[in-house]
């Protein structure tokens, strides 16, 4: 008898507890806490700017650390830990940095030029597992002049080098003498930034708190919580329930998010583009007319509309449309299957046996088009391209591979016909490692593109410091690339950050009165004035 009772009691008891928890759970969240909860798809790896490679780590590091220089909201380089700096041009250019005085690490120790030198030495140490080292290979010497002054001497002119000093500076007094790859510091970082590290629970959240001694002023927010949500459709749900305040969303979520009264959706063009790359070692693609035809035959507007709901711009070359080095005179190839057919016929590709597929010398125009699995946008591009090319008699066979296999078995050994990929780029226009012929063997020029003029221009572009001259060089590169079509440049997508409307930017108006403005987006994104963000209690009420 007892047994029967137990059998009934256990499930009844479980049900009871579950329903109590259901009815006690909070249904409304407090939307007036002065904190920012950011949703991220991945966890951070190293909270150390010289080791971090992933975007989650970079986000946190940007809160905790400062570089010598930084990008402002319009993506111009301005001083950060360096109050001022100067480039002395010449055969061996020198950058002289004057550091801010009285900047303190979060543990109270003063920041000095020795920390910068230490950061540089740590990056250059071969034992350090950092991918940043190539940025500094042309640095001949980093010399500390005094506590607040230092000089960086390059062995030859290298203008992209300036950007490399935006890297977060790490403290010598906490890291010298330990193995930087495995140091505890990478999990409990101490920086100079506007927020100090508080805690990190793996795969769940990272918390940073306002640094009241920050040299640009006390941030208005109390803390930032970086929350890991491994699925994008789930971060949408959390945005709607108020579990997170900020996240990037996909184009198909854009309209849904706009309808929510608590959320504001922003758009800005991202720094990068998607493309179809042709392996130029393959005789199919060695003729420029064939590559042009492949681009003419694609209705890229339609692909953009379908894959990104039209949220982006057609790319015309290797430079994102919003940047100063993008050549505005280059127009996108129009969709013209007729032109494509003519160009292919000129190159000798005609349908001689009437099977609907172009051929030349008895060989049909057929190739595989590879990309990585797990990226729905690239998969859709592959399918649409296959379909559109088939209409002019070209057979492309799409294949999807898991990312690591895709890179290590197909792309890096140059073992492919055509591939769909995207570049995310830095702010500096230098793309030497992608296009220079010296990078064919084991660099990122995996399509084996060779063009002497481009080689020359790429080299002179990175040796030139003046913006006007660089602009002319990169506009020329853009023009050549558009004609040559080593890739079919597809589009520059939009980033779509979504932010709760409870955040305001605090500005001091006349007589020190606080004014609240809505958060505005700029070229550099949303977070450029993060330290001025604030959640006023009353504004939330009026917003409802």
């Amino acid at each position: 008898m007892k047994l029967k009772l137990i059998l009934l009691a256990i499930p009844a008891f479980i049900m009871l507890i579950l329903s109590i928890s259901f009815f006690s759970a909070r249904t409304t969240l407090d939307r007036s806490i002065n904190q920012l909860v950011i949703g991220s798809i991945g966890d951070a790896s190293y909270l150390n700017p010289i080791l971090a490679q992933d975007s989650a780590s970079s986000d946190i590091n940007s809160f905790v650390f400062n570089g010598l220089l930084k990008y402002d909201k319009d993506l111009n380089i301005v001083g950060d830990l360096a109050g001022s700096w100067q480039v002395v041009e010449g055969d061996k250019p020198v950058i002289a940095f004057n550091l801010r005085k009285g900047v303190k690490w979060h543990d109270g120790v003063e920041f000095t030029a020795e920390d910068v030198k230490f950061t540089y030495d740590a990056i250059m140490d071969e034992k350090t597992n950092t991918v940043r080292r190539s940025d500094y290979e042309l640095v001949e010497e980093v010399r500390v002049l005094d506590k607040y002054k230092l000089e960086v001497r390059y062995s030859e002119p290298f203008s992209p080098g300036l950007e490399s000093w935006t890297i977060g500076i790490i403290p010598e007094h906490l890291l010298s003498g330990c193995d930087i790859n495995t140091a505890e510091f990478n999990r409990y970082p101490v920086g100079t930034g506007p927020f100090r590290f508080k805690e990190w629970i793996s795969d769940e959240k990272i918390v940073v708190e306002a640094n009241e001694d920050y040299f640009e002023g006390h941030p208005f927010l109390d803390r930032i919580i970086y929350r890991i949500i491994p699925e994008t459709s789930l971060s949408e749900i959390e945005l709607l329930t108020g579990g997170i305040d900020y996240s990037n969303v996909y184009p198909h979520q854009y309209d849904r998010m706009r309808q929510n009264p608590y959320l504001r959706v922003y758009t800005h063009l991202s720094l990068g583009y998607s493309y179809i790359g042709y392996n130029l070692e393959n005789s199919l693609f060695s003729d420029r007319r064939v590559r042009q035809a492949l681009t003419f035959a694609l209705d890229r507007k339609k692909i953009l509309d379908y894959c990104l709901n039209g949220r982006g711009k057609l790319a015309t070359g290797p430079f994102p449309n919003q940047m100063w080095y993008h050549n505005p005179q280059i127009l996108p190839y129009p969709y013209s299957p007729e032109k494509a057919k003519n160009l292919l016929a000129e190159a000798g590709w005609i349908d001689s046996d009437g099977d609907g597929i172009l051929d030349k010398g008895g060989k049909p125009f057929k190739f595989t088009l590879i990309t990585n699995s797990g990226n729905d946008i690239r998969r859709d591009i592959a399918v649409l391209a296959q379909r559109q090319w088939r209409e002019i008699g070209i057979v492309a066979v799409p294949r999807l591979y898991e990312w690591s296999t895709f890179i290590n078995t197909y792309v890096n050994p140059r073992n492919f016909d055509a591939c769909i990929l995207g570049w995310s780029l830095g702010v500096d226009p230098d793309q030497y490692s992608i296009w220079h012929s010296s990078q064919i063997k084991d660099g990122f020029n995996f399509i084996s593109y060779r063009n002497e003029e481009i080689d020359r221009l790429l080299v002179s572009g990175r040796r030139e410091y003046r913006k006007g001259k660089r602009r002319a060089i990169y506009h020329r590169i853009h023009k050549i690339m558009a004609r040559e079509q080593p890739y079919t440049f597809l589009f520059v997508g939009e980033a779509l950050p979504v932010l709760s409307k409870k955040f305001f930017v605090v500005e001091y108006g006349e007589r020190g009165k606080k004014d609240f403005h809505p958060v505005k987006i700029a070229k550099g994104g949303l977070m450029y004035d993060l330290i001025k963000w604030y959640v006023p209690r009353r504004a939330v009420v009026s917003d409802r």
């Binding site: 499930p11 909070r26 939307r31 490679q53």
Partner: protein, 321 residues
């Protein structure tokens, strides 16, 4: 008995060694590499080479294997992905996985056994047939799909946060509220994890019970004049539970293994997600260590199952001739 257990335990060691060797070889032969995954145009080939050297990936495979063993036992095994000690990474995620899996096991046994017994004692009744139907649905429904439907449903209907281990963006909760909040966050994921188990094991329990009821000694019990309840719960159930007990042993490896899908869908910071991410990023040390632990637990689980069986069933004796 002790001798038998000891013998079985020692037998595990070469098996475990074999498993680690084979998995090590497979992982390293599989395409992909832990370095240069980001396709960052700023990484020069020289740096990739230097990093390979730092991670000992340039050494022959057998040397790498022994280095892995050495580092594992000296506690100096670091993840390729974030430089953390591998054992610490696993330990951090252990509580989340354990609590989720223990809850779901409680749900499975708490519901499956009574359901199975009920079905057996009310064989071919309407409720039994309904139970059969529901069990088939429960076994065949894809967990991730149901999870999404449940999440969407709960959020749409009640607006309650369901993801993760706790509610974010709340302050000043008292202990009881905190505990209930934690339990609430456990409800959906553990339910999803348990549904297949409840469906399967209740079927198992039903057939096991039915088999016992057909035995001669049950007829004897009836002949003695015992009531139906006494027959079922005193005599039949104990014997019918024997096969279920052994299943318990096989659940041990699952306790740690976690479930990639449920942990991902519910943003649960557990070991399943860690293992999956480590495979994707070719974090060899972490993958190998998790694999070794689950291999060990699987072996241990079968051993426990055997022992439990012997303890529960007097007809079974090991090691005596």
């Amino acid at each position: 008995m002790t001798k038998y257990v000891l013998k079985r335990f020692l037998q595990c060691i070469p098996t475990l060694f074999g498993i680690t060797v084979i998995s090590f070889v497979i992982i390293h032969i599989a395409p992909g590499s832990p370095i240069g995954m980001q396709l960052n145009p700023k990484t020069s080939p020289k740096i990739v080479e230097e990093m390979r050297k730092n991670y000992d990936l340039d050494k022959p495979l057998h040397i790498q294997y022994f280095l892995w063993l050495k580092k594992l036992f000296s506690g100096r095994l670091y993840s390729f992905k974030d430089g953390k000690p591998v054992l610490q990474k696993i330990r951090e995620r252990l509580p989340a996985t354990l609590i989720l899996n223990i809850t779901s096991i409680l749900l499975i046994f708490g519901f499956a056994i009574p359901l199975g017994v009920f079905s057996a004692t009310h064989r071919y009744s309407f409720l039994d047939n309904l139970g059969t139907l529901l069990a088939y649905i429960g076994i065949s429904i894809p967990g991730f799909w149901l999870a999404y439907i449940l999440i969407l449903g709960v959020v749409k209907l009640s607006g309650m946060p369901v993801l993760g281990m706790r509610t974010f963006a709340v302050e000043g909760l008292r202990f009881l509220e905190l505990a209930l909040d934690r339990i609430w966050h456990l409800v959906l994921p553990s339910l999803i994890l348990a549904i297949g188990g409840i469906a399967g094991i209740s079927r198992y329990m039903r057939s096991s019970m039915l088999e016992v009821i057909r035995q001669d000694y049950i007829r004897t019990a009836y002949a003695k004049g015992l009531t139906e309840d006494e027959v079922y719960y005193k005599h039949a159930l104990r014997n019918a539970l024997l096969p279920i007990i052994t299943i318990f042993g096989f659940l041990i490896p699952g306790l740690i293994g976690g479930s990639v899908i449920v942990e991902t869908v519910f943003a649960w910071p557990g070991i399943g997600r860690l293992a999956y991410q480590s495979v994707l990023s070719r974090d060899y040390p972490t993958v190998m260590t998790i694999m070794t632990i689950s291999a060990f637990l699987t072996l241990f689980g079968t051993l426990v199952a055997d022992i439990l069986y012997a303890v529960a069933d007097p007809r079974i004796r090991y090691g005596t001739k």
